[in-house]
Amino acid sequence: MPLITPEAFVLGLSAIAAACIGLAAVGIGLGQGYAAGKAVEGVARQPEAQGDILKTMLVGQAVAETTGIFAFLISMILLFVNPLVGML
């Protein structure tokens, strides 16, 4: 007799995978922080262009965020609408 049921095994591994997806935040954090730092440099050099720099920085950071959003969606799918359990 197996120690754990297949459902429990799949659900547990899905939860581990969903937690590991949090690692995607590392890259986004680095990228957004780098963009913000460069924006600060730009504002320090040219304070009158602050509005434009802020706008460009926000849009760039939003685009850089895309990979993290996809990772988040995959973890949400694993947690709430797990398709792997249905395959058993």
Binding site: K55, V63, E65, T66, I69, F70, F72, L73, M76
Partner: protein, 243 residues
Amino acid sequence: MHDLNHLGPRIIVGFGDGSVFITETVFFAMIVAAVMIALAFWSTRRMEQQPKGKQVIVEMIVEGIYKLTEGAMGKHNSHFAPYIGTLFIFLLLSNSLGMWGFRPVTADVNTAFALSLTTCFLMQYNGIRTMGFIGKIKHMSSPYPFMFPLKIIEELSFPISLGFRLFGNILGGAIVMALIFTALETGSEALNLPIPLLQAVIPLPFNLFFDVFEPILQAFIFTMLTMVFVSMEIIIHGAEDHH
């Protein structure tokens, strides 16, 4: 209170055998639209040459939207401003529904994709209008014809990433708020407090971030990216004209 077990569309009213229904998202989107119409109607009554009171505020908003559009798309594209402004205010109101304890309209993937498909349609329509259908195909297959499939993937990935970005950010905020409220509720019950004191004060900074700052940011980013994508289709044509 948000319910984490129902992330999909939630049906609140069904007609007939249940094949025709109104979801929670549609219901709140209608409310947001009604509020927007009422605000627009109320703010344009009894307008005067010398603006005062509410008219000053509304004129400031309209002017700001026109300035934003002209800054991002160029002076000759200011006719997009009404759509951009409507989109911005709709996103602002529907993202911040979490502040009133409801589920944000954009935390439903259907809303996010409806909006991003509108942007996609606007992009393709303006691209074909400025370059012509043949011109657009030619532009997509330049400099080398084998780039054509890659360009198609690129054009398809714009609306997908745009929709998922809005949806993911708002849903993430809603989930974090729900987790915070659940944790504080458990804490209040564990401490045997007569009134839920913990939920009253502690979530305020999180509310400020997820229901005020994030909606403004996401509404701004969505409209900004819409403007950038649409003006890309137009500017490319303008640059080719000078050659």
